[in-house]
């Protein structure tokens, strides 16, 4: 953790080349307005740091940044009854400028079941379908179970 000297009038402006900070774009847990992007950021970063980072490295026009620190729970206990701490992390909500919007993409889309011919999956699916047909009760009994009967 580098400790920079406190800024006083006349000091050279702090410039960071090749920062060792990395942002993580996450899907918001609660619904956010369309111009808001949610990031998980290292604890040492500030609002100004995020603004400069996004504008200079990724040339993303940033309007406003708000941050908060999420406390990681210390409640769970392991098999030795010791408390296990989940790490704390900082979350940044970035509002984009110039009317831009962003929606988090769907990373795990639902696949339509079209398996290729002669493959294991198709045989397995056919087998599962036959099993389900066999398990279904006789439609001629009109919903009455086998319990009533001979």
């Amino acid at each position: 953790m580098v400790r920079y000297p406190l800024y006083q009038l006349g000091n050279p402006q702090l410039r960071i080349f090749r920062p060792s900070w990395f942002l993580t774009l996450v899907r918001p847990g609660k619904e956010q307005p369309p111009d808001t992007v949610q990031f998980r950021i290292p604890m040492e970063m500030t609002k100004c740091d995020i603004k400069n980072y996004l504008e200079k490295i990724y040339s993303v026009p940033v309007g406003a940044v708000r941050t908060r620190i999420q406390f990681g729970s210390n409640k769970k206990r392991n098999h030795l009854n010791q408390k296990v701490k989940q790490p704390d992390y900082k979350v940044a909500y970035v509002q984009l400028a110039q009317g831009q919007t962003f929606t988090f993409p769907d990373i795990f889309p639902e696949k339509d079941q079209t398996s290729t011919e002669g493959s294991m999956e198709e045989m397995q699916e056919k087998f599962m379908e036959d099993e389900k047909q066999r398990q279904k009760p006789d439609p001629r009994r009109g919903g009455v179970t086998e319990w009533f009967g001979l």
């Binding site: 619904e31 956010q32 307005p33 111009d35 808001t36 026009p61 309007g63 406003a64 708000r66 509002q95 400028a97 110039q98």
Partner: protein, 432 residues
């Protein structure tokens, strides 16, 4: 059939009295109900009992005088969103339009638009003033007097008075605040001869304006009241630079029905994402003076843009597009609060909607740039119970920022914009 019309064998000599006939000379006897009407209980632990309690409360508020109405509506303190008219939030005007059910119309209403049609109309109908100039009702010499007054005020504050360099973020307060106050007092004094209302008006310096209302609802996510519906409450606490209150109400800018066609932007997200924060304290509804004051209707408000939202600072942060957004949001929130409070003072509230629209005006300035806004309040019924089939919307007209003067050089004002002065005069001369 002939057989059916034969009278019975034993025809009674005395017919029983015909009960359904009403004699013309007798009064209709009031039928007292024999049993009390069947309504839901008042004290049971049921949904219908809660509905009946709400009904009783609404009836109680409707039947009480205005002072009691206000105190009953603002009695209970609960967590509410505090809406600041001058806010740093981005796209605040869209959010505020949704909270207050207001439609924004760029430009000013027909009263103030200086098109060529108005001039021809004025010439045909021979206006009362002798010489028809740019402003109807004010002749050329008077307009020249007003121009010289404005330039005198500008010179006084920016040239003759030697002011120290202001401390951090106090520049607007020190340089432009006194200028605006002098301008308003001077203009209202000189235009009082043309507008008789201004003689009986009340000019407030730095008054407080508060308004409290409910709009929308949400399901409480956690706590002992989890799963229940809760209305979202809002409070505006505003302090304009100065305002003019008059004894009569201003005429409406557009008929009520014209607002049905306008569109209000719908925002489906919770207000706290704006960002907007909740607090709990006394609910206030205040126009700038207490209830018994005769000058209970509003005329014009004047707002100052603070240093934090000055256009130079926004330009340094590359957020010049937010300047207009800020002005619109400021005008919207301030005027909605003022007109809403005026309506509450007349006894209209959520369940008793307005019978006539309330209109007010505002001028927002940062010393050089002036923006003019007109607001018409058509409905105050914004909560969930009353908003379901309410087609009325509130209307806000507004201009872009216009420069008043270019600069002050060598004891003279350079580039004084006549249109802005004309609009100011028109605003102050507005009368019912």
């Amino acid at each position: 059939m002939a057989a059916r019309t034969r009278l019975p064998l034993l025809f009674p000599k005395k017919l029983p009295p015909l009960r359904n006939q009403r004699f013309a000379h007798a009064e209709a006897a009031l039928k007292e109900p024999a049993y009390p009407s069947v309504v839901a209980s008042l004290t049971a632990k049921s949904k219908s009992a809660r509905l009946r309690q709400v009904e009783e409360q609404v009836k109680k508020i409707c039947d009480s005088p205005v002072e009691e109405k206000l105190s009953l509506i603002t009695r209970i303190q609960r967590k509410k969103f505090v809406v600041y008219p001058q806010t740093f939030a981005r796209n605040a005007d869209r959010w505020y339009q949704h909270f207050t059910k207001t439609a924004y119309i760029p430009g000013l209403p027909e009263k103030f638009t200086p098109g060529p049609e108005r001039k021809t109309e004025g010439e045909e109908s021979s206006p009362p003033a002798a010489a028809h100039t740019t402003v109807p009702g004010v002749d050329r010499d008077a307009f020249a007097d007003i121009r010289s007054l404005v330039s005198r005020v500008i010179l006084q504050e920016h040239w003759h008075l030697k002011k120290r360099k202001a401390f951090l973020y106090r520049e607007q307060e020190q340089m432009v605040g006194p200028f605006l106050r002098c301008l308003v007092t001077g203009l209202s004094h000189s235009l009082a001869q043309y507008n008789p209302l201004l003689r009986l008006s009340s000019l407030d310096i730095a008054p407080r304006v508060n308004f409290y209302w409910r709009r929308g609802q949400r399901i409480i996510p956690k706590g002992h009241r989890r799963g229940r519906l809760e209305p979202t409450r809002f409070q505006i606490d505003d302090q304009p630079q100065c305002q003019i209150r008059i004894t009569q109400q201003l005429q409406q800018f557009a008929p009520l029905e014209a607002s049905y066609a306008e569109e209000v932007p719908e925002v489906t997200y919770a207000p706290n994402l704006m960002p907007l924060f909740k607090r709990q304290y006394d609910n206030h509804i205040f126009t700038g003076a207490k209830l018994p004051d005769p000058a209970c209707y509003g005329h014009t408000q004047f707002h100052l843009v603070p240093d934090r939202y000055h256009r130079d600072r926004m330009a340094r942060k590359q957020q010049s597009d937010q300047v207009e957004v800020f002005l619109r949001a400021n005008a919207l929130a301030s005027l909605f609060a003022w007109t809403g409070a005026q309506a509450m003072y007349q006894g209209f509230w959520n369940h008793e909607d307005l019978t006539r629209p309330f209109a007010s005006q505002a001028v927002i300035t940062d010393g050089e740039f002036f923006s003019f806004f007109c607001y018409q309040l058509n409905t105050v019924a914004l909560s969930v119970e009353t908003d379901g089939d309410n087609p009325r919307k509130n209307l806000l007209w507004g201009t872009e920022s216009l420069r008043l003067y270019e600069s002050v050089q060598d004891g003279a004002v350079v580039g004084l914009n006549d249109d802005v002065v004309k609009l100011l005069v028109q605003f102050l001369l507005n009368q019912p």
